[in-house]
Amino acid sequence: MTTKVSFTLNGEAVSAEVDSRTLLVEMIRENLGKTGTHVGCDTSQCGACVIHLDGRSVKSCTMLAVQAEGADVATIEGVATNGKLHPMQEAFREHHGLQCGYCTPGMIMSSLDLVKQNPDPDEKQIREWLEGNLCRCTGYQNIVRAVKAGAQAMRADD
């Protein structure tokens, strides 16, 4: 059985006919063609699929597409504006917060929510917040540095 699901993706109205069992991440990747959001596990452990749903970070592998009906969805593709990188993206690059890049979109989306809730997180808070996002390459140290620097840059921009 298919259902039409409509929501806003990175500011644009989108919709697709999907199986009612379709996960939100599957709809984003396969029906809407936005492949920046990744799938790294099937048990909600890795966080590669983190997106924003109505402004909060969620694991898009852990909800059905139909649950996003009418929502405001943001993915990594919407983070840079008019070709200009977001300070958090810049910080990941500047501080070598990524290697293979697979976990990176989830890390950035998750970090953006952290900074929204806590504009000046300390290292311990960053590490605790990111415990739901696995990275197998970096040992997290440079990710933590990047998030701290990204948060600082975001405060400076405000």
């Binding site: 492949t35 920046g36 799938v39 452990q45 890795c46 070598h96 990710i143």
Partner: protein
């Protein structure tokens, strides 16, 4: 130093696409009209397929085809080959069972491929797989080394009695016996190197795309070495000649060894694509990765060290059993032999070493290289044994190590286990690590921890590794069935920009940046005018890929050699343009100058002259400016270093907290310190994972109990401290870059440093051993046993 050249911490070219969600991993690729493959896998560790009924699946909505092992066998598909042959000490070749991509008659591990469904959607394929009815005879299984070696154990393969694949040895047994006979003291250890699962964040995926118009195949696959896959799958499995088979490995989300090997799914989708004349895409679920990606480590060893009265190492005797799994993976037999026992000298002058290694079959997923591949097993065994020797002899563990180090003036140093180390300075690494770790003030920190009811311990480990396996003829004599060189092509485009085609493959290592730094250094071309192409057999001349920390030491050197050819030809062109002799042309900072004059020509003008050869020595020089080099190293490289770990243990809960970690590594010359530091962070984290968290667990019947990320504990951000990382440099003596490799060091030196620290923290309980992973339960139980 050239800006953006060798030694600069250049920010990475590849990052932009990854931070904006524009990476192109295999699962991001979709081919027109593609089908989705879902594989039915064995739920049993060992079973005979009595019947396999696929009619209902074939009739299910959206299903296009269902194939079984019988179908592939009938079509003449071969088995997955093993790339390294090991000869037992009695001269007999290793047992080498067949490995069909889809099982025929018998399944040999949980996750073994049984059938594949192709359907219009992944959901339809998944539904249809459920409709395949398999009736198995459940056969007895062996899941561990102990079970496999037990008297009367069920056999994985009838032609491998005792489940022994090979019984191999290295070193001089008689000399080692003699060393033990004159020893003042002998220290021994029984040690287990825990089985691990690589868990690269990107699950494996493969797309087979057959073009019936041209009779050509394309395989997109998550591989660390696409040319190797083309060779193995084309020649041994599917019988497709190289010119008809293109293998593409685009962005790959981490490998750590697990994506070196040729996997069944690659052959299945490529073959199936031809059968249905449509592209076929397969992507692993993470649960599938756990039961189909090659696992790592899994050794059980007994080792003895003979010492003189004053702590001089006289001899080392090692007996290791290594779990190879049910089938031989691509490099499976090489890992516990050539990549392990040859490293047992470590950083020490032990004059006599003998090691026996038995490779054993079990009904488990094949075991192969995982970050470090054999070298972590050697380092863990040796450094735990040395720490124990320190305790037994009463000699300070650092002093004992220093007393036995190979000293800087003793290189080149021939070990008793085949390797010749070219250069190193192990004391310097220890000095740096001790200083950075503030080792002298450890006692104060221990006291402070004690005041909070915590047990603090410090552990040290030195390590050596052998990277960039080489040279090919030696590797061949040791059983390698492939060459171990690397290839690189430098194409200078007419307007002076540069495209590099490298056989190395980047799946996180940042080659697009570091290799561009080499070009900038050699040709003076602006960093932004260089692009690095890799991972496509249609574009890159050839390549052996990336593993064993070989990219800089082999691929980077191949690139340097190609760049040198470009420099030589450029000088000739410049000599013509400047009416001088090529010997008098100096090539520096992107300019070619007649020595001692102000007459010069820019490199870009030389490139243009090569492609628009109006004023050009056509009678002696070909037009164009493109050069290829194949580089086969003279020797391995030998990175080495010293790692120091401090832990704090809560005796009430057994939780081990790594409170500080220091790494002082010698990687030779460093191209990009930022990237090297990142590699160390990642390696150390995987080493801490092995030491404290990660454990692949099978039950006695061969069911994988740690089959998801909820059951297999990967290190997370809040488990770790910041690491203190430094380097000391002794440049490799036999490659032009002086580089050694840095990718695996962290995973090699870390586990013994962590466990030595844990044991040190527990010393008041007289606990002198702690298996990996040192979980809270194990630590707590050990404390309880010691106090009750």
């Amino acid at each position: 130093m050239t800006e953006n050249g060798i030694g600069a911490a250049v920010r990475r070219k590849e990052d932009h696409r990854f931070i904006t969600g524009k990476g192109q991993y295999v699962d991001d690729i979709n081919r027109p009209n593609q089908l989705y493959a879902v594989i039915l896998r064995s739920p049993l560790a060992h079973g005979k397929i009595k019947s396999l009924e696929t009619d209902a699946a074939k009739a299910a909505p959206g299903v296009v085809a269902v194939f079984t092992g019988a179908d592939m066998a009938a079509a003449g598909v071969g088995g997955l080959p093993c790339g390294w042959g090991i000869t037992s000490s009695d001269g007999s070749p290793m047992a080498e069972p067949g490995h069909p991509p889809l099982a025929v008659d018998v399944v040999h591990h949980v996750g073994d491929q049984v059938a594949v469904v192709l359907a219009e959607t992944k959901a339809a394929a998944r539904d249809a797989v459920e409709l395949i009815e398999v009736d198995y005879d459940d056969l007895p299984a062996v899941a561990s080394l102990d079970a496999a070696g037990a008297e009367g154990a069920p056999l994985v393969w009838d032609d491998a009695p005792g489940n022994i694949c090979f019984d191999w040895e290295i070193g001089d047994a008689a000399a080692t016996d003699a060393a033990f006979a004159k020893a003042a003291q002998v220290v021994s250890i029984d040690i287990v190197n825990n089985r691990l699962i690589a868990n690269a964040m990107e699950p494996r995926a493969a797309i087979g795309d057959y073009d019936s118009g041209k009779d050509e195949y394309t395989l997109f696959t998550t591989s660390q070495n696409p040319h190797v896959i083309r060779m193995l799958m084309g020649a041994f499995v599917l019988g497709i000649p190289e010119h008809k088979l293109r293998v593409v490995s685009p962005d790959v989300g981490g490998g750590f060894g697990s994506k070196i090997f040729h996997y069944a799914e690659e052959a299945i989708v490529t073959w199936a694509s031809k059968q249905v004349d449509r592209p076929v895409k397969w992507t692993a679920d993470r649960s599938e990765s756990f039961i189909s990606d090659a696992h790592g480590r899994d050794h059980v060893s007994h080792a003895e060290l003979a010492l003189s009265e004053d702590g001089e190492f006289l001899g080392l005797r090692v007996d290791t059993r290594a779990n190879l799994g049910a089938y031989l993976s691509t490099f499976g037999p090489a890992v516990p032999t050539i990549l392990y026992a040859t490293l047992l000298a470590g950083t020490y002058k032990t004059p006599a070493i003998h090691a026996r290694v038995r490779g054993m079959f079990t009904h488990t997923v094949p075991v192969d290289a995982y970050r470090g591949a054999g070298r972590p097993e050697a380092s863990y065994l040796l450094e735990r044994l040395v720490d124990r020797a320190a305790k037994v002899t009463g000699i300070d563990p650092i002093e004992l190590r220093r007393r036995n180090f190979i000293k800087p003036d003793e290189f080149p140093y021939q070990t008793p286990v085949a390797l010749e180390y070219d250069i190193g300075d192990y004391d310097a690494a220890v000095d740096k690590a001790l200083e950075l770790a503030d080792y002298d003030n450890f006692a104060q920190r221990r006291e402070e921890s004690a005041s909070r009811g915590k047990l603090r311990g410090v552990g040290i480990a030195t390590y050596i590794e052998a990277c960039g396996i080489a040279p090919s003829n030696v590797a061949g004599a040791l059983g390698a069935r492939a060459g171990l060189y690397e290839a690189g092509t430098v194409r200078v485009n007419p307007t002076g920009s540069v495209s590099v085609f490298t056989g190395s493959h980047s799946h996180g290592q940042g080659h697009e940046t570091t290799f561009a730094q080499l070009v900038t250094e050699a040709l003076g071309v602006d960093f932004d005018n260089v692009s690095i192409v890799h991972g496509d057999t249609a574009k890159v001349p050839f390549g052996m890929g990336t593993y064993g920390s070989r990219s800089a030491a082999v691929g980077g050197v191949a690139l340097m050699n190609a760049l040198e050819k470009i420099r030589t030809k450029s000088r000739k062109i410049a000599a013509h343009l400047l009416e001088a002799s090529a010997e008098d042309i100096e090539f520096k900072d992107g300019k070619l100058t007649v020595v001692g004059t102000d007459r010069s020509v820019a490199f870009g003008d030389v490139a243009m002259a090569a492609y628009v050869p109006h004023n050009y020595p056509l009678d002696t020089l070909e037009p164009g400016l493109e050069e290829t080099a194949f580089y086969d190293p003279k020797n391995f490289t030998f990175p080495a270093g010293c790692h120091i770990c401090e832990v704090e243990i809560d005796p009430d809960t057994g939780v081990v907290d790594v409170v500080s970690f220091t790494a002082a590594d010698d990687f030779g010359r460093i191209i990009n310190p930022m990237i090297v530091e990142g590699q160390v962070h990642g390696g150390v984290t995987q080493g801490i994972g092995q030491a404290l968290y990660e454990q692949c667990v099978y039950d006695d019947s061969g069911q994988l109990l740690s089959g998801s990320m909820m059951d297999y504990c990967l290190p997370r951000a809040d488990n770790l401290p910041n690491f203190a990382v430094t380097t000391n440099v002794t440049p490799c003596t036999h490659n032009v870059l002086g580089v050694k490799g840095c990718g695996e060091a962290g995973a090699i030196g870390t586990p013994p440093a962590v466990i030595n620290a844990v044991v040190n923290a527990l010393s008041e309980y007289k606990i002198d051993d702690m298996p990996m992973p040192a979980t809270p339960e194990r630590v707590w139980q050990a404390i309880q046993s010691a106090t009750n």
